[in-house]
Symmetry: C2
Subunit: 147 residues, 2 copies
């Protein structure tokens, strides 16, 4: 697994309110948005900040009770995403992370948005989503483009 | 405030255990570390992943009860840092964020590590640290260097 963070997604109570702060208040530009559901903002070279409904985030990742993980951060409403170039790479990276001491949270599967993704947690319970998203590309200058 | 994330710091229970996972397990390289206290790993162009004692993170940022912020994420053990080029810029960015609807968490002040920093929270209580760190520079190729 390469040291790369593609998206930091914050689970928010009200996507419109979070959008007002970041997009209208701070003047940051949305790279992709679905009204009332999710907003992605370019926040670095090849890096997106995501604002997503906290409830949907929980539905998507699941919040299993992990034995042996007291004080887990798994309930923190935040996900770090690591994008890779193929579905096979998703499986390989999750296997590598689990072998390194990570905990499988949700096995990789095909996603409604057209990609393939799964989750593991680090020793503190921080969630990493490993994803192949064929509609997301990083340009040479670091701009993330959705097609 | 420009759309830029400089550091994602995870508050961990045991820095050595987190280091074992990320550095020894996944093979990621530490850009700076103080044994048992903090580890910074390059995780993107100009982007660091920080592993820091959760207790020290709480001591540093403080966890005030924020009126009108029920269900706040302020207790999530994670901080997004936005580095700027001067102490004056720290004050300006925090003022801008508060004017945009952010909540002041800790006013900016000189830091023991030689810089100047303060915190605000977004509408969901996610903490942003605005920092001037004279010993941290981003090279043209995105590498973060500590001097």
């Amino acid at each position: 697994m390469e040291p790369r963070i593609s998206i930091i997604t914050l689970g928010v109570k009200d996507v419109d309110a979070a959008r007002r702060f970041y997009v209208e208040g701070l003047g940051w530009k949305a790279a992709l948005e679905v009204e009332g559901e999710v907003v992605f903002i370019q926040a670095g070279h090849g890096l997106l900040l995501g604002l997503w409904s906290r409830e949907r985030m929980v539905d998507d990742a699941g919040l299993p009770d992990l034995a042996g993980m007291p004080g887990s951060a798994l309930h923190a409403p935040m996900t770090l995403s690591h994008n890779v170039e193929s579905a096979a790479a998703v499986d390989a990276v999750i296997a590598e992370a689990v072998a390194a001491g990570g905990v499988l949270v949700r096995p990789a599967a095909e996603q409604s948005w057209g990609g393939y993704a799964g989750y593991f947690a680090d020793p503190d319970g921080f969630r990493w989503e490993i994803a192949w998203n064929p509609s997301l590309t990083v340009q040479e200058d670091g701009t993330v483009r959705f097609s």
